[in-house]
């Protein structure tokens, strides 16, 4: 009984994080439409509630009430599982993102607060956090591939083949871009990485500028944001792998996509911009502020750049991103070793 109480509290904490993520995801859709509206000199959603604030709720209700269509030629089991894989793989990595230093629970709960990571500002401080993230994100590809395959339609299949090729190629660039940060922080745990950036000039964006640029590019290809959104390229493929999906199954794909966007922004904050670190304001405010700044940057990119051609995307991934990433790893290792030897 004694050990059941903290476990219950950890479950509640996890649930809170999930609810927060889902709420943010819902409002990301509004944010994206509003910002795109401003960029294109129009108003954006403004009918449902003041400034369209109730729009996400209306959208959610609409998605739930729409007729559920399962394509008759579809492979039913796989067709249903695919969106679930996407959502689960988009939500799981949030577990290792540190959103604050501590929760200050020891004043309320006493010694119980220090059990099972309950008091830390992260659901689980895994010491291989970044590997866990790459592991989960490499599984997320399956949702997209299977969804496209199970729909049994040409557009879906083409979309999912593109998705598979692109995601695997850019995962390599993404992993390489992070290695520099890992070397300098000396840890794979995201909590330690944030703690290594305790002042602004120690932020890894200044110590790893090339790594950050590579991460930004490879990351937006990984979550299929606009310059790289060839898997759902509407003028060739209708909507790519999600063409045959309707109602809440489509909603789940949509949710997964925006959860990925939120996750990538928070990961970028954590790895390169000091996570929750910042003066005066509480850590959680800094964390959310930085995260939403990057969400805004991604929307901004979407409003600015046209889509690339598919062969160019693949060429860029393999012939530019990977070699430059390797070079960055080698240069970082070289300079860091010399630094340790002669300066530090």
């Amino acid at each position: 009984m004694e050990s059941a109480f903290p476990v219950l509290l950890v479950l509640i904490k996890t649930l809170l994080v999930i609810v927060a993520v889902l709420t943010f995801v819902a409002y990301l859709t509004l944010l994206e439409r509003k910002v795109l509206g401003w960029i294109q000199v129009r108003l954006g959603p403004n009918r449902v509630g003041p400034w369209g604030l109730l729009q996400p709720l209306a959208d959610g209700a609409k998605l739930l009430l729409k007729e559920e269509i399962t394509v008759s030629a579809a492979n039913t089991a796989v067709y249903i599982i695919a969106p679930l894989i996407v959502v689960v793989c988009a939500l799981l990595p949030f577990g290792v993102i540190p959103f604050a230093k501590g929760l200050g629970l020891e004043n309320i709960l006493g010694p119980v607060a220090n059990k099972f990571d309950l008091n830390t500002g992260v659901v689980a401080d895994i010491n291989l956090g970044i590997l866990y993230i790459f592991g989960i994100s490499s599984l997320g590809v399956y949702g997209v591939i299977l969804g496209g395959w199970a729909s049994n339609s040409k557009y879906s299949l083409l979309g999912s083949i593109r998705a598979a090729a692109q995601m695997i190629s850019y995962e390599l660039g993404l992993s390489l871009s992070v290695i520099g940060v890992l070397m300098l922080a000396g840890s794979l745990s995201l909590v330690n990485i944030v703690e290594a950036q305790d002042s602004v000039w120690k932020w890894f964006v200044f110590r790893q500028p090339l790594g950050f640029i590579l991460f930004l590019i490879a990351g937006s290809a990984e979550i299929a944001r606009t310059p790289f959104d060839l898997m759902e390229c509407e003028n060739e493929l209708v909507a790519g792998y999600q063409t045959e999906y309707s109602s809440m199954k489509f909603g789940l794909f949509y949710l997964g996509e925006y959860a990925h966007l939120l996750f990538l922004s928070s990961l970028m904050t954590t790895l390169f911009f000091g996570g929750w670190q910042g003066p005066i304001l509480p850590p959680i405010v800094w964390f959310l502020g930085k995260t939403f700044f990057f969400v805004f940057v991604f929307v901004w990119i979407r409003g600015t750049y046209p889509r690339l051609r598919y062969d160019r995307v693949m060429q860029f991934g393999w012939k530019t991103l990977v070699p430059v990433g390797l070079l960055n790893v080698m240069a970082t290792a070289f300079v860091y070793t010399l630094w340790l030897k002669y300066v530090g």
Binding site: V78, N127, L128, L139, I145, A164
Partner: protein
Amino acid sequence: METILFYVLAAVTLLSAVCVVFLRRPLHNVLFMILTMIGLATLFILLHAEFLAMVQIIVYAGAVMVLFLFVIMLLNLEEISLPKEPRPLRWGFGVILALALVVVLFPIFSHFTPSVMGKSLPGAVGNVSNIELIGTELFTTYLLPFEVASILLLAAIIGTVIIGRKLKD
């Protein structure tokens, strides 16, 4: 608690491994194989081999199986294109191979008492995280095998590039 977890995870892993062998549609086989890989990774986590678990997921479940899936999707393999069961010869070979594996593994199992949970090592070694330990060992004790393996991989990469390259006419 850990013991229950172990038996549940082991059951899932074994069941999905059985499904890989007995199901008739190639796509389902691949899906269950992914599940088997993930199940193995969870067992590694129980044994405190977290690094191995993550690598298992990233390399096998994440990368290798995607390529399997890719091939099956592109060739559009269906049940019809597979040979009809039963094939006594194949079954016979399968059983013999399985028995041979048991014979090979038996000496290993007789040396160790099997345990469900991993134990952390005592002293300084136990305090070092998995990945640091692996890194140090690879670059000191096992430097030569490590370098040989990387040259092998390099050769494989160059080989694929040469095979995949378009010939100029």
